[in-house]
Amino acid sequence: MGKILVVDDSEMNRELLKEIFEEQWEVLEAKNGREAVDILDMDAGNIEIMFLDLLMPKLSGLDVLQYMKKAKIIDKIPVVVITGESSIETDVKAYEYGAADIIYKPFSPDVVI
């Protein structure tokens, strides 16, 4: 079973995403950017896609994207940013840092799929 990584400091948001994918994928969860980096360090080769919140404690989503770029894994794992921040500046930064797509909260599961 392939793996998906969900990174969000909101338990509700992690569960909303987990529900969508858990029948077909193993869903890994991280509460913040630091946990996400720890999971990527161990298991990046098995993660097929990542859903990433931007505003988090310890390490932000943009910091995680920068880490993935430095570690040369940003091209190997598509990152979908899921954010409540709708600003052009944030969008541009996310894409510049390597995000594959952006979805805005509150999201509908149909949009995520």
Partner: protein, 117 residues
């Protein structure tokens, strides 16, 4: 009290949440997540400690979980406080608005608890 009636009482948008969560069973599941969330309490603590960045994150989180459940009134107030706290723009304004947020949050929680019985 039905879920729909509860939404009417607390100033939420039942039709909106139903589009995203599909049925009352799932709405009730995520109401549980809302009650456990903790962002409101953390926001109050961070405002009292004048920790602007942490307060901003918690206001943003509260806005997010409220919007997920289409709690329109609560989303509106928490969104306003989020913007006041962004980059420390208006910390005093955020503190002044906190009682209004608190009233809206308590109304929402009471409505949920009454519905859940």
């Amino acid at each position: 009290m039905t879920v729909k009636e509860m939404y009417g009482e607390i100033g939420g948008d039942y039709e909106d949440v139903l589009i995203r969560l599909k049925n009352d069973e799932r709405i009730i599941k995520y109401l549980g997540f809302f009650l456990r969330d903790g962002s409101f309490e953390k926001l109050g603590r961070h405002l009292a400690q004048k920790n602007v960045e942490a307060a901003f994150r918690e206001a943003h989180n509260l806005k997010g979980v409220s919007a997920n459940l289409a709690f329109s009134n609560l989303t509106k107030v928490s969104s306003a406080i989020t913007e006041m706290l962004r980059d420390g723009k208006d910390f005093e304004g955020a503190c002044e608005s906190y009682p209004q947020l608190s009233a809206e949050y308590k109304k929402t929680v009471e409505g949920i608890n009454m519905m859940l019985g």
